[in-house]
């Protein structure tokens, strides 16, 4: 684990940059894998395609970020090896991304909270001093803006919909809200990246995220839960049992037949 003491040194080490890239990559990868669970099961054919499109965007982002992370690491691992041959403690996605799909309302709440975060984060990362990361962010930002449009639209529809839809998304929001602290509170690695202009200060992301989410929740007539203390877990590699189950399914083929291609 990278501690505050490791991060006080001047330059950014390859290990630190690698670790930070994995936070971004794994969040997109795990969220994409989660969403893919809806393919064939969405409420309508049109929503099925919409969720499938978002899935593919997210996995595309993960591929670019993992490929770059592999270069930075310098141990010859490509994006497939990083995706399929790491164990749960080596994943650094934020904890919110691995939460189960639940009903459609819960999926929408999880998606909206993360879309709002990714839009702001990638928007800022376009100005990163890391040129390759900036290029990936420029592509990802356009995708995430559409994702937000989709999830925010549904959040408002369901929140301001029927009594039942309102109750379901409110319950989902109350259940997932405690995971948002991790998105917005910097640990030593976040602060170190920000001090070198590689990533934006999370305080900036926090204020923009809160503005975006508060406005959406108001329009959706949803009650914003009180701020809850939540430590960094996922982005430090500490995960709920949900991630292990997700990886078991996602990595099954490569674990059984290492190196299999098609």
């Amino acid at each position: 684990m990278i501690t505050a003491a490791d991060c006080t040194a001047g330059a950014v080490s390859a290990e630190e940059r690698f670790r930070y890239l994995l936070r971004l990559a794994d969040t997109s990868l795990v969220l994409g894998q989660r969403l893919s669970g809806w393919v064939g099961h969405a409420p309508t054919l049109e929503e099925d395609l919409a969720l499938g499109n978002i899935t593919l965007d997210l996995i595309g982002q993960a591929r670019l970020l993992l490929a770059y992370a592999g270069q930075v690491e310098g141990r010859g691992r490509d994006e497939d090896q990083l995706a399929f041959l790491r164990d749960a403690p080596e994943f650094f996605n934020v904890t919110l991304a691995e939460q189960p799909n639940g009903d459609f309302g819960q999926t929408i709440v999880r998606q909206a909270l993360l879309d709002a975060w990714q839009v702001e984060l990638y928007h800022s990362l376009i100005g990163s001093t890391d040129e390759q990361l900036a290029n990936i962010a420029a592509k990802a930002m356009k995708e995430c803006r559409y994702h937000w449009r989709f999830s925010c639209g549904w959040l408002v529809r369901l929140g301001d919909g029927t009594e039942e839809s309102h109750a379901r998304v409110q319950a989902a929001l109350d259940g997932l809200w405690r995971f948002t602290g991790e998105l917005l509170t910097p640990d030593a690695l976040d602060a170190h990246m920000a001090s070198h202009g590689i990533a934006p200060p999370l305080a900036v992301i926090r204020s923009r995220w809160e503005a975006r989410v508060t406005a959406a929740l108001e329009e959706a007539t949803l009650r914003q839960p009180p701020p809850a203390y939540f430590p960094w877990l996922g982005k430090r590699g500490v995960h709920s049992e949900h991630l292990g189950q997700l990886l078991t399914e996602m990595q099954h083929l490569q674990r059984l037949h290492p190196g299999a291609t098609w």
Binding site: T44, E46, L49, N53
Partner: protein
Amino acid sequence: MNEDWALYEVFIRARSGLEHKHVGSLHAADARMALEHARDTYTRRQEGVSIWVVRSSDIVASDPQEAEALFEPARDKVYRHPTFYSIPEDVKNI
């Protein structure tokens, strides 16, 4: 769910300067959702640069029963076709 959702017709413009063409239909709760569904259903392979959607119920259509009266009179007026002109090579999209 779909009994609550209206049917929309979708028109896509493939490239700037071309016309919007009918590509199909879909169900949506309102116009905004219809546009998003059209984007996700019909432009996944870079088919378009612009989308129109219109509620199917807002389209006024000709009656198939009147097809004879409407269309057959044009059949013997071949001279209306501009087939006796040569088209300059520089003119595209005709």
